[in-house]
């Protein structure tokens, strides 16, 4: 049996703090809140940013309780500053 992973993308200041732009999490189906401790453990520089971050799952904004499943793409989004 193959275990698909969750792909995590980091942007802007979050990429700086994570030290990478992309990461793979081996996790069962969970929620955004559920995978945060795994991200924090692997990328401790993210912790101080926690309150400023937004998240997307498969390209759409998602909240802490929303489901994340293997095969999903999670994006870690600092405050947007386009325009």
């Amino acid at each position: 049996m193959t275990q698909k992973s969750i792909k995590v993308l980091f942007f802007g200041a979050a990429a700086d703090r994570a030290g990478t732009r992309e990461s793979e999490l081996s996790s069962e189906a969970s929620t955004l809140d559920g995978i945060w401790p795994l991200l924090e453990e692997r990328h401790p520089g993210l912790s101080p940013m926690r309150n400023t971050l937004a998240f997307a799952v498969n390209g759409e904004y998602a909240r802490g309780g929303d489901t994340v499943s293997p095969g999903d793409e999670v994006a870690v989004l600092p405050p947007v500053s386009g325009g």
Binding site: D16, L77, G83
Partner: protein, 141 residues
């Protein structure tokens, strides 16, 4: 047209594409790289990055929101990413409407929404490092 580009935005062409016989007003907003000289040292340029294709889709959604709220017959939004030098355009919004009130309101709405929901980030690049705008995180000493 709703798109993200990595080269100079041709504002004249965007306005020309919005000209229609059933519209009397075109409101265009162009956001440009501003250097605040009062801060002593000086920003050399801005560098933008986007989460694509989510950012493209969010631009389209803003266009759809505008068409729902106002009688806008043409809407285009182009956002540039990568290096944008001082005075250059980072974003252009063009709205054509039969009347000027809706055209002004819709283009203003578009830039406010872009700054709220489109996953694009800019950093100020200084001679001694950079700073992510909004996060105040970077490499400057």
């Amino acid at each position: 047209m709703f798109t993200i580009v990595d080269e100079t935005i041709d504002v004249g062409a965007l306005v020309a594409a919005a000209q229609r016989p059933d519209c009397g007003a075109i409101s265009t907003f162009v956001g440009t790289t501003r250097i605040d000289e009062s801060s002593g040292a000086s920003v050399e340029y801005l560098e933008y990055e986007a989460y694509r294709p989510m950012a493209d889709r969010k631009l389209e959604e803003i266009g759809a929101e505008i068409q729902e709220r106002w009688d806008a017959r043409h809407v285009s939004i182009v956002h540039r990413i990568g290096r944008v030098d001082p005075g250059e355009a980072s974003v252009a919004i063009v709205v054509a409407s039969p009347r000027r009130g809706p055209a002004f309101e819709a283009s203003r709405y578009a830039i406010e929404r872009i700054k709220e929901v489109v996953p694009i980030w800019k950093r100020e690049v200084w001679s001694d490092g950079y700073v992510w705008v909004g996060s105040q995180i970077g490499t400057r000493p």
